[in-house]
Amino acid sequence: MSRHLIKGNEAIVKAAVLAGCRGFYGYPITPASEITEAAAKYMPQVGGVFLQAESEVAAINMLYGASAAGVRVMTASSGPGISLMQEGISYMAGAELPCVVADITRAGPGLGNITSEQSDYHQVVKGGGHGNYRTLVLAPHSVQEMVDLTVLAFDLADRYRNPVVLMADGFIGQMMEPVEFPQAVTEPALPRWAVAGTEATRTNLISSIFLDNDKLEAHIRHLEAKYEMARRHETRAEELYTEDAEVVLVGYGIVARILKAVAAEARADGLRVGVLRPITLFPFPTADFVRIATRAKVFVVVEMSNGQMLEDVRLALNGTRPVEFLSRVGGNVPSHHEVLAFVQKQVQLSAQSEEVVHVG
């Protein structure tokens, strides 16, 4: 299969089409607009629907409608637009409707700026809308993963009947890399719960309202059971040099690419440095952290936020290992050299603390 040099944002749309997506409802925002533009180009050509909505609020509710009708459907946005979509995402989780939302993150709060931050973590991973629900969150770090994880996102959305967010930073969205595209899926069958305007689906109802407390409680427990199943079966992470790593670097998206370069250089200098990259941010790869912590001395989280994923790393390690944090925000990216210097310092500190232990 040949490889194609393609921008991350455009790759998402082509992968979505191959995954059977036939509906895209969106609203333009930098740095995600190329996705909406590519969808405008391709959806009508493949018998799908493209519509630029009047707002992100309308767009996500259009996903609600298309998904209710049994169509694989997606949208794309960034920080401020994702905030507006939280209403619809909560309703879709409540009504158990699958959809894929691509969040090509930018810097906030408020208008912030259009360069990359990873500060959507809380609103996306923890669920920015109301109610007891989660979204499944996938974090690509290459254009190939923009393809692979988009395809996976549609499968997970259908399997769990839940919104899935593909959360990538502006770098991954804007960069070009060679990718291989998978074969197109055979047309997905109409889900049995869909409301498609046919005799067979006439008795179906899509709703998130449960007037009776006990019924709502049972519904929420049912949703929880799905999230628990996702925790058991869908957790994904990539590890590099973790077998003997003393310092484990943790990051996702573009940061993980920088961490891989840093780890390679640190290894060349004889430092035992590894990388743990969460690919699923929910479910979070807690078990991988626990396993690696048996050998590692310190974890270094690098994020383009003020420490949002950091909280999940600390929860995963539950105080068993120190967690150091390197943060850049405002659209700035931690440089290779900056991270390397930070790592060298941690190695030094770690060695010193051991000496103290030995002396004692």
Binding site: Y42, E54, N113, E177, T198
Partner: protein, 485 residues
Amino acid sequence: MSDDLEMQYEVARSRPEAFYERFDRKDELQHQTHYCPGCGHGIIHKMVAQAIDELGIQNRTILISPVGCSVFAYYYFDVGNVQAAHGRAPAVATAVKRSRSQSIVISYQGDGDLSAIGSAEILHAANRGENISVIFVNNAIYSMTGGQVAPTTLLGQRSTTTPEGRSAEREGYPLRVSELLGALEAPVYIERVGIGDNKQIAQAYRAVRKAIENQVRGLGFSLVEILSTCPTIWKMSPVESQRWVHDVMEKTFPLGLIRERTKDAQPHETPAPAPADLRKVLGIADQARIVPHQVAKSATNLQVRVAGFGGQGVLLLGEILAEAGLNAGLEVSWLPSYGPEMRSGTSNCHVRISSEPIDSPLVTRPDVLVAMNEPSLHKFYESVPPGGWVLYNRDAMPGECKRTDLNVLARPFTQIAKDLGDARTGNMIMLGALIECTGAVPWQSVDAALRQMIKSEKWLELDRRALARGRELMREPVEEAVHEG
């Protein structure tokens, strides 16, 4: 009822097929609705169900229920049901209809839902001429939440949030949504009706049926506004309520036809079927990459930063370089600067070409800096490691760039390009020089990249000439760095 009366009148009680016989979705009292005595929803529901029956569309119908007292419309209608968020029914209906064009989508909304929180959604669905039918039930108040002021509340009307009555100064005037929508091009049919007496009910039914029939015929957006009653919140008897609609509400919301162009409307087109070959449509059909030969250097790891003004072809230079690397069987990455820089007129990109998988696509220490203007040279000059190359688009380096550990080719590339035929090929001359000095990719793969990306024969020829010129310039003996001034 006495026997006498039964003999005088035929009891005409009928249940439309589009209603469930028993309301199993209700938790209790499954033989009756949850609506209050005298509420308009019962009558209006029956009209909708009757029209579904008459048009023979029960299996095709999808009812979008709103937030408000009619949130539970799905208790009663034996059709496909989708319950929407507050105000969003028209957005939901839009996508249901566009996804399933054979379905008949009825969006049922109250006045708080439609005219306040959902004002954007109804306006744009109407303006797009969505082929849906909207039943808009206006009772001038938020009922389910307990009687707060709505955009449709009459002047002087008391509500729990206008305890002294609505004032134009404070809350503005009652919003006539139907008249607003009537000003749009797209809607085919808008009418306001009442249900105050049998005559009005008969007219209301004709309107509801027409709004749905228009959709069956594929004509476009139809809306029926029905002035309705809420005896509970209004604190009136059902009869008083009906009288109030007639005597008071109709003065602010006059009944009648607001927009009617059913006769001129053309049926909506159905979408084209999907083509057989998705990969071809997506431009990702398998294609043989031209891999001319193994790259000369066994281990390639080239990091390039290209920078200049927007319009100098900075990003294209990088893209052709990356495509050429891919043609040569190498790993590549191309990362543009984006954001404010892009808008302020300068532009730069990071390109990596490697025989190994590429970790970071960010180039912070470029082996080659292609500086197409002076600000770019200054911005990245110090980042080039010793032994690296600087290609600079002037005939000499500025005086302050004094490093002696760099290879420099300073030429007025834009001027040379102009002399060669077109100043816009300056980027290609610099690319030619870059490929010559690094040897990272074979020339054939560069030419193949050009052919893939440059579709015009004229430009292909100009670019090829420019690349060759760049190669020549690099082959000329490299001078000691010359400084200006």
